[in-house]
């Protein structure tokens, strides 16, 4: 079974982003970049399925500028076999990413597609669902467990009320939630080996997709700052403040 995983290059999750003074966007100059954490979980899941003898090949795909190849290399170091970079000038919107990925899926015919549930930059939470829709495939979003059996995949999903389990025919799209697994770190020898693994570069034109703009970013602002509060010395003082000053209890 072939698995396709998607990996997005995003700001490192430890970095607190700043807004540009002209409010045109956030400032990503000299900011540490990394693989989206939910994509790390997607790669890890694919690698575990391969280690368990359930998958034969793992293909890692990223859409965006040239630098995305760093994240594909990371996926290769973590255990993916092959990479495809769809090179675009900027990061296309989710629907356009999904349209590009759909072309790769049609050509590569993976039986399982694993994406992250959410990019930590756009906080969109949509690409996997869109990809499933475009390909008319079933979807298992926000997965915290995944089990292959009888030509189907059983996905446990983290939902607002608790957990839900679905059984999906293959091929299917699964999006990862935090509890699916704990990603490993790439070892130095594997990082070296990854350099020799195949990484193919494609353009949207070659895939027959012309990414379009669906939205216009008018302005980016910093959120309202909370004004610093006070430290209380005791529980008595806390209770007094909550009752008489804040009047919330």
């Amino acid at each position: 079974m072939k698995i396709l995983v998607t990996v997005k290059r995003v700001i490192d999750y430890n970095v607190k982003v700043r807004v540009k003074p002209d409010h045109s966007d956030v400032d990503l100059a000299n900011v540490k970049m990394a693989m989206n954490p939910f994509c790390e979980i997607a790669v890890e899941e694919a690698v575990r399925l391969k280690e368990a003898g359930l998958a034969t090949e793992i293909l890692a795909v990223s859409v965006g500028p040239k630098a995305c190849q760093e994240q594909i290399r990371t996926a290769l170091a973590l255990g993916a076999d092959r990479g495809i970079h769809i090179e675009t000038e900027d990061f296309p919107e989710s629907l356009e990413v999904a349209r590009l990925l759909a072309k790769v899926v049609e050509a590569e015919r993976p039986e399982l597609i694993i994406t992250g549930k959410q990019s930590i930059d756009s906080d969109n939470n949509q690409t996997g669902q869109m990809l499933a829709a475009l390909l008319d495939l079933p979807q298992g979003t926000f997965a915290s467990a995944l089990k292959l059996a009888d030509g189907r995949v059983e996905v446990t999903r983290e939902i607002d009320g608790g957990l839900q389990t679905l059984s999906l025919s293959l091929p299917a799209v699964v999006t990862t939630d935090l509890r699916l697994n704990e990603p490993r770190y790439a070892s130095l020898p594997n990082i070296m080996k990854a350099k020799k693994k195949p990484l193919e570069v494609r353009t949207p034109a070659e895939l027959g997709v012309q990414p379009r703009a669906h939205t216009r970013l008018l302005k980016v602002e910093a959120p309202a700052e909370r004004k610093g509060g006070i430290k209380v010395a005791s529980i008595d003082e806390l209770v007094e403040k909550l009752k008489n000053e804040a009047k919330v209890i």
Partner: protein
């Protein structure tokens, strides 16, 4: 053209997130229609009909819509979409599961977690864990949005008398996606997303048993119990308690963070709370930067004392 709101419900009852979505849709300003899609969901539609301000409640009751699987509901919404300028759903896990699928089938973008309506085509939404707020104009013919409940007051649940219109929908019976089961947490406490007071615990609690301390405090305050990712990952509490960028977004009148350091991902889920209290033994913990009242203390002493003195 009218706005189509997708109701959040479990067939029997309408969920409160629907009411926040109604408020957001009303701010866009047009005739409001609310879709209740499910199986044996007439009871939920009946509740929806009591919300004031709606022009129509659409009831799609079909066996194929059981459990409201996205694969089954999206073709219905797409079929209805031609009559609407906007499609709005709450940014709950069900809204987030369904709506991108609808948007893709319509060939349009989805704006996620909208927190502000500027005009019929321009909306505000947080990005980068809420560290930036983007104002975004949609260029698509149909605007598809999920709206963040905590950013919009709930519409009244009672007082309206909207007609219910049944729509015939013969859904596909295919089983590419099949419902297997659900483990839904039952709690006597208020719902996390709409509670007036939330008491949340983090890794500092050290164990699931220690959460009993917080639960007793919560019961005294009539509060919901939340948690950080670390507390969920460690298995202290189930996933539905997670507050944060990738969990639930809450904005109660009072949020009490106990043994939580205040990582940006956690702050993203609670920093719009009216009053924030932090109890942490590390006086340098970043949570104190957003707390109105901070107490540097060992939670195992502070929480029982707080409970006693309330």
């Amino acid at each position: 053209m009218a706005i189509l709101i997708i109701a959040e419900h479990d067939d029997r009852t309408l969920k409160s997130a629907t009411l926040n979505a109604v408020t957001a849709a009303a701010q866009i300003g047009a005739e409001l229609h609310l879709l209740v899609a499910g199986r044996d969901c007439r009871a939920a539609a009946g509740q929806a009909a009591r919300i004031p301000g709606l022009a129509k409640v659409l009831l799609a009751d079909d066996a194929s819509l059981a459990q409201q699987l996205a694969e089954k509901v999206s073709p219905l919404v797409v079929e209805l979409a031609k009559d609407y300028s906007h499609i709005v759903a709450p940014a709950t896990t069900s809204g987030k599961n369904l709506l991108p699928r609808v948007a893709a089938l319509l060939g349009v973008a989805q704006l996620s977690e909208v927190i502000g309506v500027e005009s019929t085509d321009t909306f505000r939404r947080p990005i980068y864990a809420g560290n930036a707020i983007a104002t975004v104009q949609s260029l698509d013919s149909v605007k598809v949005l999920t709206v963040r409940g905590s950013a919009f007051e709930p519409a009244p649940a009672e007082g309206g008398g909207t007609p219910i219109e049944s729509i015939h929908f013969a859904g596909d019976a295919g089983d590419s996606a099949r419902f297997v089961g659900e483990q839904v947490a039952v709690s006597e406490r208020p719902e996390l997303s709409s509670a007036r007071i939330v008491v949340s615990g983090g890794r500092g609690l050290g164990s699931g048993e220690s959460f009993a301390l917080l639960e007793r405090l919560a019961d005294k305050l009539g509060a919901a119990v939340g948690a950080s990712r670390a507390a969920v990952d460690a298995g202290f509490v189930p996933n539905d308690r997670q507050v944060g960028q990738t969990g639930k977004i809450v904005a109660p009148d009072l949020y009490i963070a106990v043994g939580i350091s205040g990582a940006i991902q956690h702050l993203a889920g609670m920093k719009e709370s009216k009053v924030i209290v932090a109890i942490n033994k590390d006086e340098e913990a970043p949570i104190f930067q957003v707390a109105d009242y901070g107490l540097v203390a060992d939670l195992f002493e502070a929480i029982p004392e707080l409970e006693r003195k309330l």
